[in-house]
């Protein structure tokens, strides 16, 4: 998965316009990425990539770049 594909996926997941989503986009700028959105994200990561987020992962996610980093760390090159 390229970084562009990953950003497409994140935009679709949180129902945001694609142009709004960059690695620097802050989580707070994405309304759907609230505490309920974290569950949606966790389910999507598990379903699509078999990635189960740790407590540290969840606490450490502040920007889209942090999510890209998690994908990279789990062998999904972005």
């Amino acid at each position: 998965m390229t970084q562009e594909e990953a950003l497409d996926w994140i935009a679709e997941l949180f129902e945001e316009p694609r142009e709004k989503i960059t690695p620097e986009t802050d989580r707070k700028a994405i309304p759907a990425w609230d505490s309920l959105g974290v569950l949606t994200l966790m389910a999507a990561l598990d379903e699509k990539f078999n990635i189960i987020l740790s407590d540290k992962d969840v606490r450490g996610m502040e920007k889209v770049a942090d999510l890209l980093q998690i994908l990279r760390r789990n062998g999904k090159p972005t």
Binding site: S35, L36, V38, L39, T40, M42, A43, D46, E47, I52, L53, S54, D55, V58
Partner: protein
């Protein structure tokens, strides 16, 4: 523990009981904005919940359920050899809630009675203990009670739990098989205490009996961690149980999930490759009632019951502890399955 089995006892009846007060999350949003409530209702699937009053306890819900099942089966209370009460919302620290119910039901002094302090995983654990007792000599009839009132320890401003929980009790009447049988029930029981802080009621026990911070009297849940735990543990639980029993996914009539959250359950069944038709949901009408949501889903999940054979049920409990377990059991066609609303004046104290 690996998967284990017992000689199959017979489920003669299951009755669930809920308090009469119903709250519609969309109509009574409490401290939350309606948009926020809408999102929670859509995701978690909880539309309505039954809430216990300050005078209604798990014991009362289980007492009403027990009375119903005994009456339906025409069982003399004196014939009950064992009473097992599974709860984390007891009436008192002491005596055990089983003793309170023992008195209210008028059971015999020859009846063994004890509490099991487990929550979401409590029904598979309780069935395992009951079936082990029934396969030994001397115990013929057992009542397994499982009740929780989580709304009484959830704070009205805590979005993680306030719109989620409902209250329920249940009674399951079990009897030892009357002749030698090769039928088995299978169980897989697990614990990971390292996740204990992820779902905890920190105050009021003897570790912190009179906390200064009033919030400690209410439950705390780290929803993300509990979700991670569920994803990680429930699928292997299903696979291990089926493998040990030599059954395929298709041979299970119904998978009865602890009704934790509709979104999580649907995610799990997609991952497991289990069709939605085999997974009854009651969370929409009753909320998440903890472990008793499993027997509640047996009674209220619209299970299709053929008249000529038992249903094969895989019961799944997972949550607080962290603790998780499965029970692969059969529900005979003759088993009485009922649901009651807690009647007025039906309390263990005899007062409404």
């Amino acid at each position: 523990m690996a998967v284990t089995f017992t000689v199959s006892p017979i489920i003669r009846g299951v009755t669930s009981c809920v308090p009469p007060r119903v709250v519609d999350n969309l109509e009574e949003a409490g401290e939350f904005q309606s948009e926020e409530v809408g999102k929670v209702v859509k995701l978690a699937g909880v539309r309505r919940r039954h809430l216990a009053s300050e005078r209604e306890c798990s014991s009362d819900l289980c007492l009403a359920a027990a009375r119903d099942v005994l009456q339906s089966l025409e069982w003399n209370p004196a014939s009950i050899d064992a009473l097992i009460m599974v709860t984390q919302t007891p009436d008192y620290f002491l005596p055990s809630t089983c003793c309170v119910i023992h008195r209210a039901l008028g059971l015999s002094d020859k009846c063994a009675a004890f509490d099991v302090g487990l929550g979401c995983s409590g029904y598979p654990y309780g069935l395992c203990v009951a079936s082990m007792m029934l396969q030994s000599h001397g115990f013929r009839r057992a009542l397994l009670l499982h009740g929780e009132t989580p709304t009484r320890f959830s704070h009205s401003s805590d979005r993680a739990v306030a719109l989620l929980f409902g209250d329920a009790g249940s009674a399951t009447a079990l009897e030892a098989a009357s002749s030698r049988t090769d039928r088995k029930w299978w169980f897989s029981l697990h614990t990971d205490g390292s996740g204990g802080d992820d779902l905890i009621l920190p105050g009021g026990g003897f570790r912190d009996r009179f906390p200064q911070d009033a919030r400690k009297h209410y439950v705390f849940m780290n929803g993300a961690n509990v979700f991670s735990f569920t994803i990680k543990r429930v699928l292997p639980l299903i696979e291990d149980t089926l493998r040990a029993a030599g059954l395929t996914k298709e041979e299970i009539d119904y998978y009865i999930f602890h009704q934790s959250n509709q979104f999580i359950i649907r995610h799990l069944l997609r991952k497991a490759g289990v069709p939605e038709a085999k997974v009854p949901l009651t969370i929409g009408e009753f909320g998440s009632a903890g472990g008793p949501s499993v027997p509640l889903t047996i009674t209220r999940g619209n299970l299709l019951r053929p008249p000529d054979r038992s249903l094969t049920l895989l019961l799944l409990g997972y949550g607080v502890g962290l603790s998780w377990g499965s029970a692969l059991v059969d529900l005979p066609p003759a088993a009485v399955v009922n649901h009651v609303i807690l009647p007025e004046n039906c309390t263990v104290t005899g007062r409404g």
